[in-house]
Amino acid sequence: MTSRSKFRDPGFILTIVLIVYAAIVFIWWPTDIYMLEISLVAWLMFAGLFFWFLLAIIYSVWIEKIESRR
């Protein structure tokens, strides 16, 4: 296995996706925008909860495809 193939690993790619979403939330940090009187920060995190589960499903399906090729 080369270093290059490790960067193409679904786990590595989806970790980057996870970090990018978290970075958007924490760098943007929109404390002055509200929905239903609750800070948009909280809503972005609430949406993130579903996004994390979606990433877990994508990872499982992706790895299954790779393993079925073996």
């Binding site: 679904p10 786990g11 924490f26 609430f46 994390w52 589960f53």
Partner: protein, 480 residues
């Protein structure tokens, strides 16, 4: 004393103990049985086992308590970090570390880096997990004293020894199967509580408005940015750095089962936190947080306000389940750290499996007594204590584990320096108190990463045999 709730709580405790006795013989057959349930756990049981190990008193009482006290964005920061635990550990370590075929986290460090790293990591596991039991015992004492009408110290001792008994007798077998009951009881309990709250407040929008009417700052960011970010980072890494959670991967039938268990555990956790939001809003709408001695107890107040006695008893048993299912996993990690990683590996390699499992049983009881003695006079709020231990383990273990799996060039001296450097810097920051609460790993973990990379590059690379092992951890990448 609340009679109905007390009876339900006692029935629950007796049922758990009986399961420990039932699995006693099976667990004592071999080390593999005692520490990893024979590496035979399927996806369904495994999902509940991971969920129950991760979902602790901090997930329920701590998250709701701090959400009511510090605003709903703080609650969602908790959820944001805690639910990310499962995909994050799936992507980076679950399948790979299961493929290593080890029983414990220090054994993985031995396989990848050598014995010195195993000894240091076993010491970190024993210290970290012992202190991590303290907030769990504190939570059980708070609930026990409230429901059973006994004083806090007695409740800590009785309930602490209660979960120690079944964990010590039945090892990973009892812990995994009690997790199935504990995970489902906490999940069903909190969903029922959320439904009662929704009906009582006529829907979500009305519930939020009721909370806002009592606490206008409920929807606001009330703490420094660093407190939220530090909390998120400490939890995000928890599935990778907590031996009590990582050991669940070792109990899985194979790498595929470990991955699937983590995926479904993610859904269980998502459900728990959505229901938890309703509990947080209901807690805020009650307007009693200022009058409580301990904000972590707001969850219990919500249960008493919204649920009839029998359902309240089941939900309180669910809270106890959350605490016990995490604390028993910590006990097993401590037990394996001393009996397997230190005694069997370094002191008496010829020790029989029966002797090692017997030693594991004694170590569990001893560790529980130490935890109980500290919890009798706890050093802080549940959420803060959990943050300290999570930060310590992240600073010590985070990068040695991830780089050990993903970077062939990482070597023994690099791992040792990163592990010791990260944990020492973390302890200095805790003692110095220069940073906001729970922000210490933001400094200590990158220092561990830097030390590990620099020292590894300055010293000899690992042997070809070790580098081949790293390739083997990633065998699903073959034939691409």
């Amino acid at each position: 004393m609340q009679v109905t709730e007390s009876i339900i709580l006692l029935i629950y405790l007796i049922a758990m103990t009986l399961m420990g006795i039932y699995f006693y013989r099976r667990a004592r057959r071999s080390e593999n049985d005692y520490f990893t349930a024979g590496q035979s756990i399927n996806t369904f049981i495994g999902a509940f086992a991971i969920f129950a190990a991760v979902a602790s008193s901090s997930s329920l009482m701590g998250a709701v308590g701090s959400g009511v006290a510090l605003g709903v964005p703080y609650f969602f920061t908790y959820a944001f970090g805690v639910i990310a635990i499962l995909p994050f550990s799936m992507f980076l370590v679950s399948g790979q570390i299961r493929r290593a075929g080890v029983k414990t986290l220090p054994e993985f460090f031995n396989q990848r880096f050598g014995k010195p790293v195993q000894i240091v990591s076993a010491a970190v596991v024993v210290i970290g997990m012992t202190f991590y039991m303290v907030p769990q015992l504190t939570a059980s004492g708070l609930i026990g004293s409230h429901v059973l009408g006994i004083d806090y110290k007695t409740a800590v001792v009785v309930l602490g020894l209660g979960f120690t008994l079944y964990a010590a007798l039945g090892g990973m077998w009892a812990i995994t199967y009690t997790d199935l009951i504990q995970g489902s009881s906490m999940l069903i309990g909190i969903v029922i509580l959320a439904l009662f709250i929704m009906v009582d407040h006529n829907g979500v929008v009305s519930l939020i408005n009721d909370a806002m009417a009592v606490d206008p700052a409920f929807g606001d960011i009330t703490q420094p940015w660093m407190s939220y970010f530090g909390l998120f980072i400490a939890f995000l890494w928890f599935g990778i750095i907590s031996p009590s959670v990582v050991m669940r991967n070792f109990a899985s039938r194979d790498a595929r089962t470990a991955r699937h268990s983590a995926m479904w555990a993610c859904l269980l956790y998502l459900t728990l936190f959505i229901a938890g939001f309703f509990v947080t809003a209901a807690g805020a709408s009650m307007g009693i947080v200022e009058s409580l001695d301990n904000t972590d107890m707001i969850f219990v107040s919500v249960i008493e306000q919204y649920l009839p006695a029998i359902l309240g008893g089941i939900m309180l048993a669910g809270l106890m389940a959350a605490i016990m299912s995490s604390a028993d996993a910590m006990l097993l990690a401590i037990s394996a750290g001393i009996a397997h990683d230190i005694y069997k590996e370094h002191i008496n390699p010829k020790a029989s499996e029966r002797f090692v499992t017997g030693l594991g049983l004694i170590v569990m009881i001893a560790a529980s007594i130490v935890g109980i003695l500290i919890a009798i006079d706890p050093p802080g709020l549940i959420a803060v204590m959990v943050g300290w231990v999570g930060g310590f383990l992240l600073s010590a273990f985070g990068f040695p584990i991830v780089l050990g799996i993903w970077w062939k060039r990482a070597n023994m001296l690099g791992a040792l320096t990163g592990m010791l450097g990260g944990s020492i810097v973390f302890l200095i920051l805790i003692i110095g108190r220069w940073l906001p609460t729970n922000a210490e790993p933001i400094i200590a973990a990158p220092i561990s990463l830097l030390l590990m990379i620099v020292v590894s590059l300055m010293t000899e690379p690992p042997s070809q045999e070790t580098q081949a092992k790293v390739d083997y951890y990633h065998t699903h990448l073959e034939n691409r």
